[in-house]
Symmetry: C2
Subunit: 136 residues, 2 copies
DNA sequence: GTTCCTGCAAAAGCTTTGCAGAAGA
DNA sequence: TCTTCTGCAAAGCTTTTGCAGGAAC
C-alpha cells in the first residue's frame, strides 16, 4: 500500500502535475479499486475522510489526469462518465440489467489497411453491451 | 425517395410500431442522411416543416426505435448521444478537433474463447478517437 | 371508444463556470 | 510572492417525468 502510494506520487510528478492532497487521493483511489467509478462514486467515497472535498475538484482532477494520460474515461453508460486508472488497455462489457462493467481482452484489426489511413489515433474503446452471467 | 419512404413504413410496421407522422419523419431523416445526428440536430432539422414537433417526441421516438433495433445510439461523444439508422454494423472514429464522426470497418475477436463465456451480447461498439486527416 | 402518442412545462441529473480564499513552489 | 488549485454557488445542457389534449386503430 505504501509502495503503491509512492508510485502514485511518482506518476503524478513525472507528468509535471502539482501533487495536491486531493489529486493524490483521487489517483490512489482509482489505482486501488478494480472497478470503474463515476465522479459521484469517487466523490462520495473520498468525502468520508475528506469532508471538504468538492465535486468540482473531482471533475478538475480527473480532467487533469485525462489530459496527462493517467486515467481513461469510459462513455459506455450513456448518462454518466466512468473513470479508470490507465494501466493496461482492455475492453468493457456493460450489463444492461445490473449496470456492472466487466473487463475483457479483445484483438481488433481494420478490415482493410486503408480504413484508417491518415488518421492519428489517440484512443481505442471497445464496448459490448448485453446481459452478464449473473443476471442471465 | 418514395421507395425509401415505403421501406421506412414497412420497417416500422414489421416491428409492430404505430406509424405516426413524427415517427415516420424521424426514421426517414436518419435513413436519408449519412451522418450521426444528435437529438437536437434531428429536432432542429425536422422542426423546419413540423413547427409543432417537440423534443420530448424525438426522445420518445428514438427510444422506441432503439428498443426495436431500428436505430443505434452512439455514446462516443461524452456529453450528447448520437443516433444512426441500424443498417450495417461498423465502427466509429471521432475527431477530437472538429468533432466529426467517421465510419470504418474493423474485425474484433476475443483474445481467448473464455473471455465472454456466459455473456449474452446485444450490441458491440468500437470507438476510436484522435485527429482526422483534414485536421492533421 | 379505447389505447397509445404528442407536446408543453417543469424537474432532475450531470457537468461547467466564475470567483474569492487557500495551498503549493 | 506568485502561481495554481480548491470549494462554493450558480448556471448550463441534456434528458426525464407528469399530464391534458389529440391521433391512431
Amino acid at each position: 500500500m505504501e509502495k503503491a502510494h509512492q508510485d502514485i506520487e511518482k506518476r503524478i510528478a513525472e507528468k509535471g502535475i502539482r501533487p495536491t492532497r486531493q489529486r493524490l487521493r483521487v489517483l490512489a483511489y482509482l489505482a486501488d479499486i478494480p472497478c470503474h467509478p463515476t465522479v459521484d462514486q469517487i466523490y462520495s467515497a473520498l468525502r468520508q475522510d475528506m469532508p471538504d472535498l468538492s465535486r468540482t475538484t473531482v471533475y478538475n482532477t480527473l480532467d487533469v489526469f485525462l489530459k496527462a494520460g493517467l486515467v481513461r474515461s469510459l462513455t459506455i453508460s450513456s448518462h454518466e462518465a466512468c473513470y479508470e486508472y490507465a494501466l493496461n488497455q482492455h475492453s468493457h462489457f456493460l450489463c444492461e440489467h445490473c449496470g456492472k462493467i466487466y473487463d475483457f481482452n479483445i484483438s481488433i484489426t481494420p478490415i482493410t489497411d486503408h480504413d484508417l489511413d491518415g488518421f492519428q489515433i489517440h484512443d481505442k474503446h471497445v464496448y459490448f453491451k448485453g446481459i452478464c452471467p449473473k443476471c442471465f
